[in-house]
């Protein structure tokens, strides 16, 4: 328990954390992440890369949905644009990867303007379905624009080299994904502490009141779309690098639903929540597979082929249970745990 906590300089007011302990633990986490390839198997690394990509996507979606309150089901469409932009530039035009990844982000941002402008007046579910509509339309256009996107044949993405390393597999890909995830995290945390972030939160809480206070809704809503989809585009570019082969089937609707699930499950509105939710949901299928395989008394054999469907059901059950008992999501669980830890043995 800390008492007598004073802040003496303006910088301390907006610092991410003023506690030495927190920074120490954060550093330890970063070091652990950096040394992960030494201890984790190659399969585990691919899972972690997938989780990091999901984190980038979730944090980006959190900007739009959690911070600005604009519910978006169009994640799959923006991922698709980012992935295809990255893939086409890399594979067909041999542009170096350190340009194609931001280019993927930029392409997604441009498309998001197309989504954002008609959506300015829409609220709630109407907005969600409009973004869903755009995701479908984007995928449709990509499928039919065969001369540019290879249409139904799909696209092989290779030739990504950075500092002489092939960043499409193994540890180099992991470090690239880690760097992108950290960059997205810090960018978002910083944005939240500026007037842009505060404007977004005002819009989320009550946009008419925000307008009355002088916040330009058009400008900030469009900014939310553009910045959010920039990072989603980068996540899509990373996906295309990892999968090495993409076609429109990869960017089906379930990606949008998983993205929304990660941020709600993790705790709507908080960046840490989005990160936790994305990591948890990325590892959940693997965790289910391991726990079902470890069932006692050969239980896994008893279930036979049904084990696959049962794992799918278990995924849904876990989502329902967590939300039932902790509607605040994982970040709510974390905060409760932290409070309990710091206040023990006192109750409050």
């Amino acid at each position: 328990m800390r008492t007598g906590h004073f802040r003496e300089k303006p910088g301390q007011l907006i610092a991410l954390s003023d506690s030495r302990t927190v920074w120490g633990w954060t550093l330890a986490l970063l070091v652990a992440l950096a040394l992960a390839p030494l201890v984790i198997s190659a399969y585990g690394l691919t899972l972690m890369v997938a989780a990091l990509i999901a984190v980038v996507g979730a944090i980006a979606l959190n900007i739009l949905t959690g911070q600005t309150g604009l519910i978006s089901l169009g994640q799959a469409g923006f991922l698709s644009v980012g992935a295809y932009a990255n893939g086409i530039l890399l594979a067909d035009y041999h542009v170096p990867v350190w340009i194609t990844i931001p280019a993927g982000g930029a392409a997604a941002s441009l498309v998001s303007l197309l989504v954002g402008v008609p959506s300015l007046r829409l609220k709630g579910l109407y907005l969600a379905i409009t973004t869903l509509a755009f995701a479908f339309i984007v995928n449709h256009v990509i499928l039919y624009a065969e001369p540019v996107t290879h249409g139904p044949n799909g696209l092989f993405v290779n030739g990504a080299r950075l500092f002489g390393f092939n960043v499409q597999k193994g540890p180099p890909l992991y470090y690239l994904a880690l760097a992108m995830a950290l960059a997205t995290l810090f960018a978002t945390l910083n944005l939240s502490r500026t007037r842009i972030g505060r404007a977004w939160m005002a819009i989320r809480d009550h946009d008419i009141a925000a307008r009355a206070m002088g916040i330009d809704l058009v400008r900030y809503k469009l900014l939310a779309f553009v910045i959010s989809s920039f990072f989603v585009g980068i996540a899509g570019a990373l996906m295309s690098l990892q999968l090495r082969f993409i076609n429109v089937d990869v960017f089906a609707l379930n990606l949008s639903i998983e993205a929304i699930a990660s941020i709600i499950f993790g705790g709507l509105g908080s960046v840490a929540g989005a990160t936790l939710g994305a990591v948890f949901l990325s590892f959940l299928p693997e965790a289910l597979r391991l726990s079902f395989a470890a069932l006692p008394f050969g239980g896994a054999d008893l279930l036979g082929n049904n084990v696959y469907e049962i794992r799918g059901i278990a995924y849904g059950v876990i989502i329902v249970l967590v939300l039932r008992f902790k509607p605040d999501g994982l970040i709510g669980m974390w905060r409760d745990a932290r409070k309990y830890w710091s206040q023990w043995p006192l109750a409050y």
Binding site: K123, Y126, T130, H140, G316, I319, V320, L323
Partner: protein, 290 residues
Amino acid sequence: MQFFLLLTSTGLVSGAAYGLIAIGFTLIYKSTGVVNFAQGELVMLTAYIAFSLAQWLGLSFLPLVALTIPISMALGLALERVFIRPMLGEPTFAIVMVTVGLAVILRGLTILIWGSEPFNFTAGMPTRVVVLAGVPFYPAQLWLLAALAIVVVAVWLFLKFSRYGVAMRAAAGNETAALLVGVDVSEIHALAWMISSAIAAIAGLLFAANFKLAPDMWFQGLKSFPAAILGGLDSIGGAALGGLIIGVIESLSQGYIGEGMREIAGFIVIIVVLMARPFGLFGSREIERV
């Protein structure tokens, strides 16, 4: 002309399917403020239940419907009590997420129980083609159109004249005020889910008879979302009309333009309409007070 009539008639049929499912969405949203993302899965599950009933008991169409409706209402009640009731008072997006989780569970459950093979399901209806005004129809398609009309009228009458219907409208308007005048709001929520499941059963049965009974039927629920949005999320008649409009536009655009326009025609329509009317054609404008 014949081509145009053909396209319009089949557009109306598929639009009726969208409309029926959309009414299910709208009813729950109107009464509880929650978007039920599991509606498509509910349609699928009740269709499979009807299929099993038809197989065991060999019923013809109307008795089958009469038997499936109470079962699906019981199912809707059970789902509401188990999944939604404990979430009373929690933020809406958490409840919506629970329906998403519920959808995943129902999808897996359907394949677990019935397998993943598609089935042939006639729902006890005759299969000989009927010709009306030079346009051929399967009886199942005519029943689908009739069902939409009957359901819309029935729900409208229920909401306007019956005690429970009026209570539902009160709860939809302002829950706290409804509680104050003595409306049991939790009962109303359960009732909304039950009626929505009954409609889902009708929709599922007819959809399966017309198109297919397969474990990817739930996608139809997602495709019916634009219908609900077009009509306005809290308008029953709007949902039905929205479904019909989208069905016809999809069919006409696919027939005359092609290039897979059917897939995105519905979405393009709602984007255009929402730009002009942000709450759908007949949706009520949300008045926000600062």
